[in-house]
Amino acid sequence: MRIIIIGDGKVGHSIAETLVEEDHEVTIVDRSEAALQRSQETLDAMVVKGNGVNVDTLLEAGATDADILIAVTMSDEINMLSCLTAKRLGARYAIARIRDPEYNKSLSFLMKELLIDYVINPERIMALEISRMLRYPFTGTIETFARGRVEMMDFRLGRDDALVGMTLGDLYRKKPSLPRVLFCAVQREEEAIIPKGDLVFEEGDHIYVAADVLTISQFFRQIGKNTSDIKSVMILGAGRISYYLCRLLLDMRMQVTVIERDEDRAMEFAEMLPEASVIMGDGTDQELLMSEGLDQFDAFVTLSGLDEENIMTGLYAKSAGVRKVIVKNSRDNYMDILGVIGLESVVSVRQVTGNTILRTVRTRGAADSAAAVERMYRLMDGAVEALEFIAQKDEFFINIPLKSLTVNPSALIAVIVRDGQVHIPFGDDVIKPYDRVVVIVKGNNVQRLSDIFIKGMP
């Protein structure tokens, strides 16, 4: 695909690096000669010097036939305007990074009027990522479908898990009370398996399950993966990420304590989030932390602006016996050492933002060849795809019970969402017009929903 990246900063550069690696045609636009110089020397990409809002610059960068434009400059306003200008010039898809919470309130309006297709708010994504790590400490990925109603997660089977040795068929016969989730895919060593009733679970399997948000957490609780392990969280720093994170954690009824050095910010924070307890003081002061009962907390998250402060305080919390410590770090070259010194949960804004953008780009790439796909995720390095479709009313499988249709053995209908309700489909269910249908497919040859059925069989 032809991709234009506006802004050659940390995020812009690292996205460009990956996209070049994936053999896309990348053009980078920036106003700084020095940044472009570096990119030109290290990346097989074209560079254009100029302002990403300037029509001439965008034309030179090839906006008229660009597949995707990614605007990640320092300024929200430039990002938004770049998207608008590029879309008007003919770019097909525009992604903007917008950080200011002011804009986030009127986001859907802005997106519609400024022709932005996808908005990235790094601070919010970070907060989501951290909340996920706190909620499901054992899972690697969470993907959402049907506008967030359906979640898909993966977890690894340990030796003592109840599932080990059972077949999928046994599971619900022996545990009738277990909430119904869909087993989408199993990764066993290098092999990807679409599970059928006779599959026996083994230790070390990576299992992908999908269901609505509530069911999935009940499911994990029942199989012994305790989700609501963490009840109280202490957060260092009252920045934007902390704000979004507190919101999410408070919604999950966790107890939140925030430590902030700056008086004004602490006051402001307390005003915005009355349910959180805000403590004014130096978070690097160990006595203060202990007097606030650090060792009583289930989790500690460091979100201050200084990497060193985050790392040292995180280490201290770990030594004080806090079970889950999450550290924010913005330097890539620290990442490896942090694992060595015992900090396993490290988050980086750049990485999270980059990953989110890359996932969107890849989805776009796949959706390009299959216009009917609403959303797509690649699991297990692309061996398995999860695709979301909207069923059309004149298709041949509409209103026919699923048991009367033959589904391709390498595909699986995972979820049907109708009128906001999530259904795990069974033989008697039917697909009705305008249902959102999520299917799991091995390989990548499904372009339309009808492709998963084998026609002409009863």
């Binding site: 690696e21 053999d23 045609e25 020397e41 290290t42 990346l43 097989d44 074209m46």
Partner: protein
Amino acid sequence: MNWRLVLNLLSKLMVLEAALMLPSFFVSLLHGEQALLVFGVPILALVALGLPMTLKQPASKDVHAREGLAVVALSWVLLSLFGTLPFLLSGVIPGFINALFETVSGFTTTGASILNQIEGLPHGVLFWRSFTHWVGGMGVLILTLAILPKLSGSAATLARAESPGPTFSKVVPRMRDTARWMYAVYTVLSLAQLVLLLISGLPLFDAFIHTMGTAGTGGFSNRNASVGAYDNPFAEGIITVFMLLFGMNFAVYFKLLRGEGRASFHSEEVRAYWLLAASAILVTTLLLIPQYGNFFTALRYSSFQVSSIMSTTGYATTDYVLWPQFLHILLLLLMMVGACAGSTAGGMKVSRVVMLRKAGAREIGQATAPRRVRLLKMDRKTISEETLRSVLVFFVIYMGFLFLGTLIASMDGHDFATSFSAIISCLSNIGPGLNLVGPSGNFDIFSPHVKVLLTFLMLAGRLEFIPLLTLFHREMWKTGH
């Protein structure tokens, strides 16, 4: 320095050179010459030496600036060394220094020759001699980038070091696509010229030779009297136009094809190039009317000669040494300027001269109003101080080599014009110079050590100094980087 990687790339280049000898091999075979000895042996030698090394994959595939420069410089040296084999094996040029001079003159698209009698030489060897022009014009490494699968993220380093001009910009994001695209335009233009030359009445073999000579802006002919031997105004006209076309920045053709025709002529360099060519042709024509009797005959010879010199090709239809003294100096200046950046031509390049003029004007302006902030603009874009510095350094090195070279060349005892123009001719990759090295003269008059010097200057000029000179810098050979 990642020597493994350098060796790997060099070995790939050797195999490529073997492939490049194949057309000459078939020409030789077709004419019933000693194809197996003259081309078969070098091809086998290159494959035998190169192929085993290409299989050894280097641990790291990153091409940094150092490796890029080293690969470019060493590959040109290596290509030239192996390129001498057909001349030596066929016995056309017995001495190694002479053979090296001729090969380097070919690859660097200079077109200066030490051969006195060209007509009657084996077809295969003559084809190879001109084929080196065609490959050397656009660049061997750019060809490598176009053919080989993805080299590494920073493959553009190689292209930048080989492509002439103060700055290198890709026309499409991926280097491989840019390289392929450049070669596609190059091939199409060459084929167009070939067809036109055939229509004009040149024999097939001669049409091939002159197309390759024009495309690479080289200037080797298979006739002693160069293009003048045909006395064919139509063919001369075709060659004149194509010499100027190949001297133009290739990005212009890309923009034309993309339908941005207008924008391409906004390029200050391209406009300056045509303006310079047109005014030089006009002045030359007017001054030559007394000599040739009428305007059109004067125009015929002047347009061909000015285009030939400006595009750094070096073909001749007449002996311009017999022209008035004023025109000698005019041609010498045009030789130094050369044609556009991003073309197959040599010389300082029009864009550098334009930048130098602007920088000079700025310095004078700065003296009158020291506090005023002045930006140098080209094509409505600011020229970075770094680019400007590299242009100034280029000028200094060019002048330094010119004067030092003249000093050394004068040891052979020839007149000033001969020595001076021979050095300019080699530095700018033109071919002929003035007086003894004029269109009817020959470079064989120089002693071996001056020939070695001229060979070095041709390579240095083609690669625009920096890549070749880094080989002589201590830092380059330090280990541990």
